[in-house]
């Protein structure tokens, strides 16, 4: 026998939980809501005679939806900061910032390790060289072509090493921020 307002009580609770969980990844949300529904199902099955009061007790013991959501968010954040190590995207981003700026900048923005501010500074320094180099050499090859011309023993305009210099500064900045992040992280996780 169900309590007279069983659907109302349970669905009301689940709806409030779902609203509080907004902002979490969809699969986490689904999983937690399913776990809570299963829990309510088990609790109801253990009752001999179900009343509305029993159902209120079940959802009260589960806790306020806001508290569950806070717990879910905290557990999620711990996980994310532990997993924040740099990989090939970051290495390629730094190397390509020197060699082929637009490709490097795209990789830097794809990475999740740098903050938005760091990305902005790191790529803007490179952008200076790119904007100056664009009318001279075309979009992709700016400073790289200059160095190639030098190696081949061609004419060496003074501008070209200067352009490459900006990109190197941008790359050094990004690498420096990354190494700072790594030390801070290892201190937290150890």
């Amino acid at each position: 026998m169900s309590g007279p307002h069983a659907t109302q009580i349970i669905e009301g609770y689940v709806a409030r939980l779902e609203a509080e969980l907004a902002g979490l990844p969809a699969d986490r949300r689904r999983e937690l809501v399913q776990d809570v529904r299963d829990h309510i199902g088990e609790s109801r099955a253990a009752l001999e005679q179900e009343t509305d009061a029993d159902l209120h007790n079940i959802v009260d013991r589960l806790g306020e939806p806001a508290e569950l959501a806070r717990e879910a968010r905290e557990r999620e954040e711990v996980k994310r900061s532990n997993g924040q190590h740099w990989g090939w995207i970051e290495v390629a981003g730094i190397v390509l910032t020197i060699l082929a700026w637009p490709a490097g900048a795209i990789l830097v923005w794809l990475s999740r390790v740098w903050s938005r501010q760091e990305k902005l500074i790191g790529t803007l320094i490179g952008a200076v060289a790119f904007v100056i180099g664009f009318p001279l050499f075309g979009p992709l090859v700016g400073p790289t072509l200059g160095r190639l011309v030098q190696t081949l023993g061609g004419p060496t305009p003074l501008l070209i090493p200067t352009l490459g210099f900006f990109n190197v500064i941008g790359a050094i900045y990004l690498a420096f921020r990354l190494s700072r992040r790594e030390t801070a992280l290892s201190r937290v996780t150890v």
């Binding site: 776990d35 299963d38 829990h39 013991r61 806790g63 569950l68 879910a72």
Partner: protein, 113 residues
């Protein structure tokens, strides 16, 4: 004393992870069963629902594994079991906990540490 309360809440939260893992040593268990086990011990689980984000986190960290099994009532249940990594984490916690507990007890008693 809100400061003490916050500290105790954080401590309980951290310890709860290992209590859950310890309950899984003897046999795989499903969520509702774990809640009932923990509820038998006063003060361990203040809100039952918070165990589910915790279990999800242990699962993502591969300290526990899950498996669906059919219950006698005819509906499937998600069982949690301890993995090898979970077993190692628990063993390391057991050692540190023993040291920490006796150290804190000594100091609280007012004896020499």
């Amino acid at each position: 004393m809100p400061c003490v309360d916050a500290a105790v809440t954080q401590m309980r939260k951290g310890l709860l992870e290992y209590c859950v893992m310890a309950l899984l040593v003897s046999a795989p268990r499903y969520g509702y069963e774990l809640v009932n086990q923990l509820a038998k011990v006063d003060g361990m689980l203040t809100t039952e629902g918070t165990i589910y984000p915790l279990l999800a986190r242990l699962h993502r960290d591969r300290l526990v594994a899950t498996e669906w099994r059919e219950s006698s009532g005819g509906h499937p249940r998600k069982y949690y079991r301890l993995t090898m990594e979970g077993d190692q984490a628990l063993a390391s916690f057991r050692r540190q906990w023993a040291t920490l507990r006796s150290a804190v007890d000594e100091i609280l008693k007012g004896g020499k540490p």
